[in-house]
Symmetry: C2
């Protein structure tokens, strides 16, 4: 059926971990206990990540032996167990060898595997903080399955960590220009593809059609899947599509975007050269979507224009 | 970029609603009020749906005027506002003209638009029931945005209705056989594609690779996106892929599947004829994935073998 190889070069960031989630160990306390000597822990402080320079830095999990029931076991990475745990400002200050960094800001400089483990840790901690109480009955939950289930003993409900599906779409018109939008609050000159959350009862294809209409009053007439990316800011999985739209002038009527417009390759190249135009960095699916469109019919690849891959 | 037309014939069920979600009306009480005379309401009782024969049946929304702040406004359908509201057994018994049906059981017989509206209503009610209390602080939430936001005034957090992304994958081997699995509890002879929830920090492609390995010990070496489908049983959006896997014998080691095996087209055709084999019905993405693989290299389409489309 002409199925392409995967993984492939279009894979965006947060996506390449060699970590083995090894779900069967989540209920195997003995296996985790036996691996504890070499186990490491990623302390997370206000969603900031422990780093030394541009590298993920961990602490021995044994240091946290009394609190491992509050930690979340992430899996096996290079034969070592990896946990994550939320820590206080006071604790963070006790480890002068660690520098706590915002993951989004640091992501451009990270090794792919480090970025993937940090994204996983951040997403799990975000989920756990928002499920301390049962949404059905209001009583406190307790962690089980090594932190992967939050259980309500009062009403017998189990809460699982999942992600909010969101779509990204690079829309082209019949002149092969690219539709980009600007959100209020973005730095001047920054543009990106359109995006939106998938609603209940909606296929992702229907989300693409709905959001492009809501945000820019452009009708999508065809689409093709590109790739997906975990995006822990705070809890998304992004699903990217290329689409074609009708040749109307974009209209922005809602609060979500402050502007939307069609861009030719020449406009983007000229804007990048004069530094009047920029877009999300290369680890983002947004960039990869724009790049795939751009490089399809360009004299010079987009990565050469921005001076990096 | 050779983008195919969408919508296309492979669209599975729950997916074709002409309903306009019209998000701007969620905060426009006046607009909803003006449309109230012709508005209808879908009462939902224990997740069962109001039907007359095989058709979605609604009640005038005016009958529920005092409770519309507890109802969820779904959008505009054929120029009419549509609400949904959970009702009790006693209420359901008061409307003898309605028959309350399980949506999954009825889905095969429904018109696509009816099925799509019911799936949306079911998903919203499921979400609302599980977010009555704030997961961060445990206090009661209150509905706002016409039921599309559940707000916690105690800790100032807003909860949004979203869906759990789950992947489905039809895996082929080098002999172009199809990998199918059986879950414990399924009726004898029923097989389907493999499936699994997308975890935090994971791309959907990585979920495909992980789940096929966890469930059948087959390594995925390439994959291609097929289509997505809303699946409100209880709260998923299904994302379907075709994949190729290595030519090993499937091994089932976990509780999720009781069996997994490779099937040739001949085996499937013979099993369908002798009624020793069956699979999910045509409104499912699972069926559409198997059908797309089957029809790719078959003398007779799968729909002819099962006697329906």
């Amino acid at each position: 059926m002409n199925i392409p190889d995967y993984p492939h070069e279009r894979t965006p960031g947060f996506n390449a971990a060699t970590l083995d989630r090894k779900a069967e160990w989540r209920t195997d306390e003995q296996a985790r206990e036996q691996a504890l000597d070499s186990a490491v822990l990623v302390p997370v402080c206000r969603y900031r990540m422990p780093m030394r320079g541009d590298v993920l830095e961990t602490l021995p999990a044994r240091q946290f032996a009394e609190r491992l029931d509050q930690a979340i076991w992430l899996g096996l990475w290079n034969q070592r167990s990896v946990y994550t745990l939320e820590v206080t400002d006071a604790e963070a200050a006790q480890w002068p060898e660690l520098h706590f960094s915002d993951l989004r800001g640091a992501a451009m400089r990270l090794q792919p595997d480090d970025a993937a483990v940090m994204a996983y840790a951040r997403a799990m901690i975000y989920w756990a903080k928002r499920h301390r109480y049962c949404g059905r009955c209001g009583k406190a939950t307790r962690p089980t399955h090594a932190g992967h289930v939050l259980r309500c003993d009062a009403c017998d409900l189990e809460h699982y960590p999942r992600s909010d599906p969101s779509m990204l779409v690079q829309v082209s018109d019949e002149q092969d220009r690219c539709l980009l939008g600007r959100q209020p609050g973005w730095p001047p000159g920054m543009w990106s593809v359109l995006a939106g959350f998938v609603e209940p009862g909606e296929s992702i294809e229907d989300t693409v059609i709905r959001e492009v209409w809501e945000e820019a009053r452009i009708r999508v007439t065809g689409m093709r899947y590109f790739a997906s990316q975990p995006w822990p800011f705070p809890a998304s999985v992004l699903i990217g599509y290329h689409a074609v739209g009708d040749a109307e002038t974009p209209q922005v009527e809602q609060d979500e975007l402050e502007a939307a417009d069609w861009f030719s390759r020449e406009q983007i190249a000229e804007g990048l050269r004069s530094k009047s135009f920029f877009m999300p960095p290369p680890f983002t699916l947004s960039f990869r979507l724009i790049e795939a469109w751009y490089d399809h019919n360009a004299a010079q690849p987009l990565s050469a224009l921005i001076g990096r891959r």
